[in-house]
Structure formats: structure tokens, C-alpha cells
């Protein structure tokens, strides 16, 4: 099982590699990737350095070009594909059918992975991308139970990568428009969910309001720690109740099911968080590296250790973690 870690900048890339990532994924400094945040991602110069650092250490570089271009911007996505290919990266992570078609025709030797943003949950769907564009790996959305992942992995024509840790999308990726409904910008069109440009923190007499383009996402009382207003993780009213109607602020954590993921034939574990700090990347990569190594060495007796869980909880949203959809009762 390969460990795939996020890099939003050069220090994070080094942190991932130095702490044992087998592969690092990254994006360019524009809307061609799904972490299009100010101050994040790679320019020509830092990109070159990143590739060299990884190659020197014998690790892989994957480049995410996983948003959906509109006709007016398509050339920017082509340029991103070309730039990554010319630098000899190990794989591109793509979602859009048009971009996949461009990449496989222009760079037939280049390895293509299907991004989680392509929203594929079945072997039939994977076959579409395999037969038409020759994808060699698929990243599954965070909506399948372990049994369903096992089924897809068994039937899939290509190896499967799943999310192992990080912020949890509760909606199937690539088909979630909540953010653009509220702000005009979505992961698909702009590469950002609940963008910071539309966030407002508002002190009130009795605490803090968090707003997204004016919409109240949550209210925190005095002394309650206010979280970032990611739209699906706010408190709303349904019927008589006010609660986390969609999902609590919590992170995905699969340490407890690593042996199962290994057994069903998952090929790679992905860590979410290109927008997070180098310290986060270092911490999570180190824990996941140790856990995966221990799981592979002795899967029968593997148990997640308390100190690993603690370290991951420390860097999680709301300091709590969940198995998400992998665990049926969550659904």
C-alpha cells in the first residue's frame, strides 16, 4: 500500500518526503486544481525544485489537474498538463473527460490517475475511463462503505486508491455544488469550496457568527471555539432542531481499518490536506507511515496505538475523527 501525501508548497513537500511518503501530490497556482487557495501551490520555479527534490529521494510526484474547465479556459488546463508532462512527473490526477482526452492523446506514455473529482463509484464507471483514456489508477469518493470499496476493488480493471486521513467531504466529490450555490465558486469551477474570499467572522454580543457570502453557517457562544464555515459543517435548523444537519466538523481517520483496506486489495492510501501547514503534513505522514509499515509487517496483530490516534486528533477538525462512510452506521 503506497502512502500518498499532500503538498501545498515546497516545505510541505519536503515534510512529506522526509517523513516517509511514497508519493506526493501537488497542483499549480491557478484554478486547474481543487485546492486553489491564495498563497498555495507551485509556480514554475518551485515546481521544478519540488520535482528535483522528489526525484533525488526516489519518491513519486503526482500533479492534480482535477477541476472542470469551461470553454473559455480550456487552454489553461492544456498548459498545466503540458507543463507537468514536460517535467517528467510520475502521474497526472485528472477528472474532466475533455482534459483526460487531451492528456492521453498528447502524452500517450504519461501515467493518468482518475481523480476523486470524477465521482466514480463503480467498476463500470472505472471501465469507461480505463477504456477511453487508459487510466491506471482510480481514487474513490468518500461515500462507499468498506464492503462496497472491496467490491469495486475486486471488479476494477485498475488499482484503487482511497482516502485514509483528512478533512471529510460528506458529499460525493465532483458533484457537490453547495459552495457555488452560496458563493458562485465551487470545487468544480473554481477549485475551492467555501472560499475564504466570501467568509466573514462577526463578533456579536453573545459570541461569534460565521458567514459565507452573508449566509449564517454557524453561531458560537462565548468560549465556544469557532470553526471555519465550510458549508456542510455548519449548524442549521431542521424541524424543531438546530444541529449539524449534514456533518459535524470532524476528520476522516482510517487507522483502525488499515488491515481491512490491505486485505481487500487497496493499492494506495491518500492523505487529504494540501491547504494545511508543513507541520500537519509532517505529523500525519509520520503517523501514517508507521501505521502502514506495522500493518504490512503483521496485519493479524495490528492495532492502532493510542499515541497515533492522539496525534491525528490534534490536527483534526474539531479535534475529532470518524470512519465516515466506510462504517455503515455513519450513513
Amino acid at each position: 500500500m503506497e502512502l500518498v501525501c499532500p503538498a501545498g508548497n515546497l516545505p510541505s513537500l519536503k515534510a512529506a518526503i522526509d517523513n516517509g511518503a511514497d508519493a506526493v501530490y501537488m497542483g499549480f497556482k491557478d484554478d486547474t486544481n481543487a485546492r486553489h487557495f491564495a498563497g498555495l501551490n507551485f509556480t514554475d520555479r518551485t515546481f521544478e525544485k519540488a520535482v528535483r527534490y522528489a526525484q533525488d529521494k526516489g519518491r513519486k510526484i503526482f500533479v492534480a489537474i482535477n477541476t472542470f474547465p469551461q470553454p473559455g479556459g480550456f487552454d489553461r488546463w492544456k498548459a498545466a498538463v503540458d507543463q507537468a508532462a514536460e517535467h517528467g512527473v510520475d502521474a497526472l490526477i485528472l477528472a474532466d473527460i475533455g482534459v483526460l482526452d487531451y492528456a492521453c492523446n498528447t502524452w500517450p506514455e504519461l501515467r493518468l490517475h482518475l481523480s476523486v473529482q470524477a465521482s466514480v463509484t463503480s467498476a463500470e464507471g472505472i471501465r469507461f475511463y480505463h477504456e477511453n483514456f487508459g487510466i491506471r489508477r482510480v481514487v474513490l469518493p468518500r461515500v462507499l462503505s468498506v464492503n462496497q470499496v472491496a467490491h469495486v476493488t475486486r471488479e476494477s480493471p485498475v488499482p484503487v486508491e482511497v482516502f485514509g486521513f483528512g478533512s471529510l467531504c460528506v458529499m460525493v466529490e465532483g458533484r457537490c455544488l453547495l459552495s457555488s450555490y452560496a458563493t458562485g465558486r465551487s470545487p468544480n469551477t473554481y477549485g475551492a469550496c467555501s472560499p475564504a474570499s466570501h467568509v466573514r467572522w462577526e463578533e456579536t454580543g453573545d459570541g461569534t457568527n460565521t458567514r459565507l457570502n452573508g449566509v449564517l453557517i454557524d453561531h458560537y457562544g462565548e468560549g465556544e471555539k469557532a470553526g471555519y464555515p465550510t458549508l456542510c459543517k455548519g449548524r442549521f435548523q431542521v424541524g424543531e432542531h438546530t444541529f449539524y444537519a449534514l456533518e459535524e466538523p470532524t476528520s476522516l481517520n482510517t487507522l483502525s481499518i488499515l488491515p481491512e483496506l490491505r486485505k481487500i486489495g487497496v493499492s494506495a492510501i491518500k492523505v487529504e490536506g494540501r491547504q494545511r501547514s508543513p507541520a500537519y503534513v509532517a505529523q500525519v505522514t509520520a503517523v501514517m507511515r508507521t501505521a502502514i509499515d506495522e500493518c504490512l509487517r503483521d496485519p493479524e496483530n495490528y492495532q492502532p496505538r493510542g499515541k497515533w490516534m492522539q496525534k491525528l486528533a490534534d490536527v483534526s477538525e474539531g479535534s475529532q475523527t470518524t470512519l465516515g462512510a466506510y462504517h455503515r452506521p455513519w450513513q
Binding site: 470553454p71 460528506v170 455544488l177 450555490y181 442549521f236 431542521v238 444537519a245 456533518e247 450513513q331
Partner: protein, 307 residues
């Protein structure tokens, strides 16, 4: 060519009798195309595949074009089995709401429609799918007039463009059932609570603002997206079909209003009538390249390019 009108698949879980009654009435309405089938949740089985086929035959006899719509989010192996069966039918064209349906239909050499759940954001994607047998596609609901114009300019010959013209916007799909969650029930024991909400269950902000609607595993907008006031522009752009997504009340009245609009009746009073029929008010921001929840009449100059 006059623009056509379609009735999209029912997004909600309705009583069986209500479904039959709805389509009996729809048989005489001015819509040209009717999409049938369960697109949200495979546990909703009050109307079975055979029933949809029977309803489809009735509608066809009344001169409607009938299309069977597939499930949007596929998870269980049993859902894939149902999808295969749907795609094997030789009587009606299928609307693929997931790429797995596209794969099944294209490898079987069948022509198909893609619904709003299949992402076609650019001309190259459209061309690839046309080569696979795409006959008609629905513009992603978050795209506005400028990308629509560009896509229309570059679209391959013969493919029809449909626009989601009226309805609560399909915004997201999850493994989790939010209607069950709102009753503190697990998905596996949902007690079919969706049946109590034939227009979905309203979610408000803590300031009492109507925001979203929970419909099982789907999340919709609380406001109803409508494009009637942009009808002349959509006709100019050679859009072939406008889709009306059913609500529990007034859907066929809405179809009549759009029909009057396409026949040249003055739009302003029609729009006013339309707005009076929508459950919690209207939005049209997506078409005008703004936040989807907004409602206005001017195309935005925020073109959402890279910062």
C-alpha cells in the same frame, strides 16, 4: 424550431397513487418529453421499473417522448444490477445520471441522454461523449449563459442541449441520508421518512432563512431556480429543450406558463404568475453567473477567472 419542454424525473418520494395521478394529468399537458424513474434512492420502491414502463407506454400513446432516468449515485452492487436492466431495455432511451450508465449504454451501442449528474463543462468533453452515442445533454446547473454560449458555438452537429429551467436545484449527493438523520434514524432503518416530505424537508439557517432542502441522500436549494425571464436569450442560443423539475403542487400549471412563453405571450405577467406558484421563492444566479441562490436580471461581471 420551437423550443421543447420536458418534465424531469420526480426527485422526491411520492405515494404510488400520486405518481400515477401526476402522469395521468401530464399526458394531456403541452410538455414534449417526459423523464421517468427513481434518480435519488434505490430504497424507494413504491413504483417499480415495470410501473415506469407502463406509465411510459401511456405517455407515448399520448404523443410524448419518454426517457427512463437512471440513479445518480450508485453504491451497492444491487443498484448496479437494476441499472443494467434499465440500460438493456429496448423500448425507451435512457438518461444516464452517472458515468457507469454512459459506459453500459455506449458499449451496447445505444444512444443516450446525460442528465445534470454527468459533468460536461467543455466542448471537448461533449465531443468525446457524442462519439460514444450521446444524443442529448443537460447543461450542468452551475453553468451560466457565457459557457452555454461557448458550448453551443462548438457543439457537434446533431446533439441536443437541454437546460434545467425550473425547479429546486440538485446541489449534492451523499452516502448519508439526511432526511433519516434529521429524524435521528440511521439510513439502514430510515422508516421511509421521505414520504412525509413530498417537496423535501426544509433546512433553515439559525436566522430562520430558508436555505436548503433535504431529500434523502440529495441536498437541494430551498429556492426554485427559474429561467423563464431569459427565454429569448435561451432561444437565441439555440437551446433545444427546457426542463421543468416536478414539485408536488402546480407543476402542470408551470408547464402551461412555459408553453405560453414559447408561443410568444408577453413574459413579464407570465413570470409574475410563475413566481406566485413557487414554494419559497425563486433564484436564477447560476444562469446569470452569480451565486446560485441569487435572484436578479443582469448578467454578472464577476467572470470567476483565476485570481
Amino acid at each position: 424550431m420551437t423550443i421543447k419542454l420536458s418534465i424531469g424525473p420526480i426527485q422526491y418520494f411520492w405515494e404510488r397513487e400520486r405518481v400515477f395521478e401526476f402522469y395521468q394529468q401530464a399526458a394531456d399537458c403541452p410538455a414534449d418529453i417526459v423523464y421517468l424513474g427513481e434518480v435519488i434512492c434505490s430504497k424507494r420502491r413504491l413504483v417499480k421499473v415495470e410501473d415506469w414502463v407502463a406509465i411510459g407506454r401511456e405517455l407515448k400513446q399520448n404523443g410524448k417522448e419518454v426517457v427512463l432516468s437512471s440513479l445518480t449515485l450508485l453504491e451497492a452492487a444491487s443498484e448496479m444490477g437494476s441499472l443494467r436492466k434499465l440500460c438493456q431495455n429496448d423500448e425507451f432511451m435512457v438518461e444516464a445520471n452517472d458515468i457507469s450508465a454512459v459506459q453500459l449504454l455506449s458499449t451496447a451501442g445505444k444512444r443516450f441522454v446525460t442528465g445534470p449528474g454527468v459533468n460536461i463543462y467543455n466542448t471537448r468533453s461533449l465531443q468525446v461523449l457524442v462519439n460514444k452515442g450521446l444524443k442529448r445533454w443537460v447543461l450542468p446547473v452551475e453553468l451560466g449563459l457565457q459557457p452555454l454560449k461557448d458550448l453551443q458555438a462548438g457543439r457537434p452537429a446533431g446533439v441536443e442541449t437541454e437546460v434545467f429551467a425550473l425547479g429546486r436545484l440538485p446541489l449534492a449527493y451523499s452516502a448519508r441520508c439526511y432526511t433519516a438523520r434529521s429524524h435521528n434514524l440511521p439510513k439502514d432503518d430510515c422508516q421511509f421518512k421521505c414520504i412525509e416530505y413530498p417537496d423535501g424537508r426544509l433546512l433553515k439557517t439559525r436566522e430562520d432563512e430558508d436555505f436548503l432542502v433535504l431529500n434523502g441522500i440529495q441536498t437541494q436549494s430551498a429556492l426554485t431556480h427559474q429561467v423563464l425571464d431569459q427565454l429569448p436569450e435561451l432561444e437565441n442560443l439555440a437551446v433545444d429543450i427546457l426542463r421543468i423539475s416536478p414539485q408536488h403542487e402546480h407543476t402542470l400549471e408551470v408547464v402551461d406558463i412555459f408553453d405560453a412563453g414559447r408561443k410568444g405571450v408577453e413574459l413579464a405577467p407570465l413570470c409574475e404568475h410563475l413566481l406566485s406558484l413557487l414554494p419559497l421563492g425563486a433564484c436564477n444566479g447560476y444562469l446569470l453567473e452569480q451565486a446560485g441562490m441569487q435572484f436578479g436580471s443582469e448578467v454578472s461581471h464577476d467572470t470567476q477567472q483565476a485570481v
